[in-house]
Symmetry: C2
């Protein structure tokens, strides 16, 4: 089953926004067993939209269109779809009611252009959009599906999750798909592949294994396709168990969640608290952690200590340590994580001090030199890394390495 995604509007083509919608949609479609053949971004130009629709229809079974549904006259998706399918317009009462409710909620007067948002091509099925004023429209033609959705990410995501994907599964009687993700760290993709070669070779044809590497971590994703969902689940769990037994010491968690969320889950279950002491990562690790709702049961907070003075006053790093070994040193980073445990009164802490670049490197400590330390109340582990000469990459890689070290320490002390 093949899908295509067409985004309509100028924002992507002028580089004002990054097209995150298509990546999200492609991921959800793939997880449902629908492959994406092409993603196309075009502007609000009638002929170009008509051509893109015709070409997509030749290649794919499902054409998902986002954008161009606003009330202003430069938004022409709806009009163009009517032309493409040779349809007239009708006013949809359910869609109009939703527009009315939204305007009432925000106490804004309902004007003509907004009422017209409820006008739709007369051969489409309207899927009411509970999060916005532009209705979602579902067209069928020669057993091919065209869906037009708003480009606003949270409106599109809710429509995909709650409406479009379930309808597509039903319409095309898609097979059951079961996924299982194992997050690994501290091992490269090719070494990992070698370790589990025998298991991978023995996988039946309906179960695939994908390697998804990112910043020193590799996600292993088992995907099984078939009719009997509970049987598939049992099969996938069986293979996952084999893989985890084979590469046990590299397994972080057997869920598809980010590393920091895995740590929060482990620490929450064990009633442990965490703080951070960041120099070169500059608050990025704290930001990763605090993106997750409910993190406050584990994460107490931390310090971003760029200046020597703050390393001393906030974390209790000794002036003599900084003077003798410098800020980027094993001695300093150990005192940072131990100081965080002590001063912030948490069970665990992590600390990072390095030269993120692009400047500030020396012959001894070039840009990319990063010391990371993790501490519990009775143990500290510190490690030296040599990353690249790219500031943002160094920040991201340092964060991933620090979180991996913390997880390793947590595992040691189960």
């Amino acid at each position: 089953m093949l899908a295509e995604i067409i985004t309509i509007g100028d924002e992507i083509l002028i580089g004002q926004i990054v097209d995150t919608n298509s990546a999200w949609m492609a991921k959800q479609l793939n997880l449902t067993g629908i492959s994406v053949k092409q993603i196309t971004s075009i502007s609000d130009d009638e002929q170009h939209i008509l051509d893109a629709l015709a070409q997509a229809e030749q290649r794919a079974d499902i054409i998902l269109i986002t954008g161009g549904l606003g009330p202003t006259k430069d938004d022409i998706t709806k009009k163009t779809l009517a032309k493409y399918f040779n349809m007239g317009f009708r006013r949809d009462e359910a869609a109009l009611e939703m527009v009315r409710q939204i305007f009432e909620k925000f106490k804004r007067p309902l004007i003509d252009v907004n009422i017209q948002q409820a006008d739709v091509p007369d051969g489409c099925e309207v899927i009411v959009n509970k999060n916005g004023t532009a209705p979602c429209m579902w067209f069928e033609k020669n057993n091919k599906i065209f869906v037009s959705m708003p480009g606003v990410p949270f409106e599109m995501m809710y429509l995909m999750d709650d409406e479009i994907l379930p309808r597509l599964k039903h319409k095309f009687k898609l097979p059951a798909i079961v996924h299982k993700t194992i997050l690994t760290a501290n091992i490269g993709e090719s070494f990992l592949a070698k370790e589990i070669e025998a298991i991978e070779d023995a996988l039946p044809a309906h179960i695939k294994l994908a390697y998804l590497p990112k910043l020193g971590q590799v996600r292993l994703r088992l995907s099984a396709k078939g009719d009997d969902e509970s049987k598939l689940k049992a099969e996938v769990e069986g293979f996952a168990k084999q893989i985890m037994a084979k590469v046990e010491k590299f397994v972080v968690i057997d869920e598809d969640i980010p590393l920091e969320k895995a740590i929060l889950n482990v620490m929450d279950a064990r009633g442990l608290t965490l703080s951070t002491a960041e120099s070169c990562t500059g608050g990025y690790i704290a930001h990763l952690i605090t993106q997750h709702p409910g993190c406050s049961s584990v994460y107490w907070g931390g310090a971003v200590t760029y200046a020597y003075e703050l390393k001393e006053s906030v974390l209790g790093v000794k002036p003599a340590t900084l003077a003798t070994f410098g800020a980027v040193s094993e001695e300093t980073v150990r005192e940072m994580s131990e100081g965080a445990v002590k001063h912030f009164k948490t069970d665990y802490a992590l600390a990072v001090s390095g030269i993120a670049g692009p400047d500030g490197g020396t012959a001894d400590k070039p840009v990319g030199t990063v010391w990371i330390s993790v501490s519990s109340k009775d143990k500290t582990v510190a490690k030296l890394f040599n990353f690249s000469n790219k500031r943002l990459q160094n920040i991201e890689r340092s964060a991933a390495a620090a979180l991996t070290m913390l997880l390793n320490l947590l595992k040691e002390t189960v």
Copy 2:
């Protein structure tokens, strides 16, 4: 002059990565005076690549292709381009030398598949890629340009900046384009448009004004097109001055840089130091600031104080204040920013305390309630905001609001 971007490879189509390359390329092309007609993502499939090339050639003058240039056999861009242009292959000595140097640098043995990276279609011009092993290839056909680049972002960016854009400007004798950006805050797009309506109406046809809104800020971009670059510059500066005079109190800076970078520049020039005290933004503001090289001359660091205990011990917030007014209150947030100035010994500080959500709201203080405070050594300004019920949006909006308030305070005390 029209361009199209074609990305080749599975990562985008399976939703593994977001296509940030195309947005960056589109922005650079637009700034050079080249409009992007379509962005297309396809997989490593020969016929699909051939079709996409043929369709793009019909619509555009310049076709920029990224990806599919790796050494493994699933990367078929080069072979497919040779087929499209009906060319044989030759080994390019300059490209081979670059591959050799890169392998020498990383002390890895040079094997056949890597040597083959220097084989290119014999009718193309090779642009040596100094940052990677895949050469960039430039094809000309009927006055249309096709460029094939690696998909690795930093390789592509350097090639675009240093090689492709200058060559395109020269090849197509593109007119001079001059841009000038004015960053405004504290005023909505439509109000801003009303304020400067007379100036906008008086702009000559060759000067355009764009409104680029984002999180409580609006960027105004003047773009002038013509032959005489210095004359255009003078004209654009003249109109920019008029706009800035008209909406003076909303102007942040007249450069195309992020808000936090504008603050760093202002504070650096005035020899001032900054610290941060974050609760609900959880280190995000510190992260924004520390993304910028050289920030350490201004930014000393800060605290992420999720727990009451840290608000007290690190920032000196009084337990009575927290007990009486709660963490999300004017009283607490004022003590946080004043405490940061005092304890971190900086000239200025900002503090944020709010309910990011999705849980934790009350009838009095629903999710999205955020108090922000900024302090100098002798003044504190605090303000209440009511944002949305989306955690990440609340974090981003709080950061933008806090930085805007800081800049306002800095302006008051020039």
